[in-house]
Symmetry: C2
Subunit: 321 residues, 2 copies
């Protein structure tokens, strides 16, 4: 009997990764193409579908395609569109779901990458069986997916779950969104780099990071310096955890999740980021919520979450009665 599979597609600014995912979250095959350099959006999606067909042909009658799930920046679940994504070369509202359905005769659904990660976590990862949780992606930006009563929160317009763009300080750091002081400007990989540069400027502490330029400095270098005991690097994690903890306490006051999962590049710093974030989150938490909310790493850390999450979107739809 053929194994049912779903095509998961992760549209990134540079690469588009895709793969075949079974009902249990096993990635049976995967490939990727460049996102840029295609004649137009149709040509690009034709290339994605072509790549997917090659994977399917390789498995022949052993697999049966049940749907295509897509994770993309600025993805709108209700419309199946990507809207005004700053990192893609096609502008305006892109009817990606409709175009994919023309290429592949199966149901298709689309959401933003952090939402896809949340559904992946719910179906295949550490949030199995949880009805209320939040996933926070700490990467180049800060994304989030909020799950309430076992369903992802899309909001009235399909764009809910932008905790990275809640405001820490309205007079704070300039954000890519055009405003100031968003959580993303502090708790992302570029955010902790900005914090290091503030600390280098404000304090006189010695640091191995004093020899590194802004352009050269990476979050991974800050982690390594912190592991070696560098005080500026440690202080940067403390500050990042403080502000992230503050806004996570606010998030808890909204939807009261059982757990918050941290995910992405900065979350890979492990205890360096988890310990201060948890401590400050608890200290900023309203009494009734204290010591109830778990702060956890993703259960899909060593897997291709972007593809699994995109596929999970369809597996979740197929579960509906």
């Amino acid at each position: 009997m053929a194994t049912d599979v779903v095509l998961g597609i992760d549209i990134g600014g540079t690469n588009t990764a895709f793969g075949l995912v079974d009902r249990s979250g096993n990635l049976l095959a995967e490939d990727s193409i460049q996102t840029r350099g295609h004649a137009d959006l149709h040509a690009y999606l034709h290339a994605v579908a072509g790549g997917a067909r090659t994977l399917l042909e390789r498995h022949g009658a052993a697999v049966a395609l049940k749907g295509a799930g897509i994770g993309a920046p600025n993805g709108n679940y209700y419309n199946g569109t990507v809207e005004f994504a700053p990192n893609l070369e096609w502008k305006g509202v892109l009817p990606i779901c409709d175009l994919i359905r023309k290429e592949l005769p199966v149901p298709a659904a689309l959401t933003n990458d952090a939402n896809a990660a949340a559904i992946g976590e719910m179906l295949f990862g550490g949030a199995k069986g949880m009805r209320d949780f939040i996933i926070i992606t700490l990467g180049t930006g800060v994304g989030s997916g909020i799950v309430v009563n076992g369903e992802l929160v899309y909001g009235h317009d399909g764009f809910a779950g932008e905790i990275g763009h809640t405001i820490v300080d309205p007079d704070g750091r300039q954000c890519g969104c055009g405003r100031r002081g968003c959580l993303e400007t502090y708790a992302s990989a570029p955010g902790i780099k900005r914090t290091v540069f503030h600390l280098l400027a404000d304090s006189s502490m010695e640091s191995e990071l004093r020899g590194v330029s802004f352009n050269e400095l990476t979050a991974a270098m800050i982690s390594k310096a912190a592991e070696r005991g560098d005080k500026i690097a440690l202080e940067a994690f403390e500050y990042t955890g403080r502000l992230l903890g503050l806004k996570l306490a606010d998030a808890v006051a909204h939807t009261s999740p059982a757990a918050i999962f941290l995910f992405g590049g900065l979350a890979n710093a492990g205890k360096l980021i988890f310990e201060p974030t948890k401590r400050w989150m608890e200290s900023y938490m309203l009494n009734i919520f204290k010591n109830k909310v778990k702060l956890l790493p993703s259960g899909l850390q060593d897997k291709n979450v972007a593809i699994l999450g995109a596929a999970a979107l369809i597996w979740k739809e197929l579960q509906k009665p």
Copy 2:
């Protein structure tokens, strides 16, 4: 044929109001008793049920009681309990739903007062047909009820929706919850009074409020002074709207509601509070959410929302398939 009615019970620190509400949200009869001064919790709830029975007997066979809905501070929907409510004389976890069910042989449900108001707004007020909205109560405290996908958000523990205790400034004003800088310390009736006293201290502007003591000053006096053009009073509304707008923009980034309803004493100041709140909310809003979210007064303003909301909780349950 008898009209189906639900008993709505609003437990306040001083008074307990209750009434019979039909399916369309008409309050057919109401009464109230004092919350304090009873021998114990059983005696108090026996008195509430007695009052309800008197209302029912007055209508005789014309009405049929279908359930009892209760709105109470620190109400936990999942357990039907009131937990550690600072304004009630009974301490700890109070099994109010169980006790009411013993008094009245009908289904009972309980939630906190702001959540009850949200359900009332959804069934009988301005949120009819809305699947995603938030209600904010601006009274002695700041409460909130969040609705996502047509369902109230209770969270994993039954306590979700505490936007009044999201933090504006972790080093800010002392809050009744034991922390500092909660939205409630700025956007409640006592909050705007505190703002007036800050402004009186910091500026040299003339104001009719310079002759009033902290104990004497009320939010209504600030509204009246603002209507007469008092600059300190107007500035206080501006500041209140700014901070409320900031935290509402954060709330939108969580659940992306179609509308936010403002309700309660301070919301009665009308344009004085709505205009600056809307303006600042838009200015603090992430691009994708701008000019989409309505800021509205409650559609139940001149009604007894507390009773209607408590009753709506049961009407909502009875609608479920």
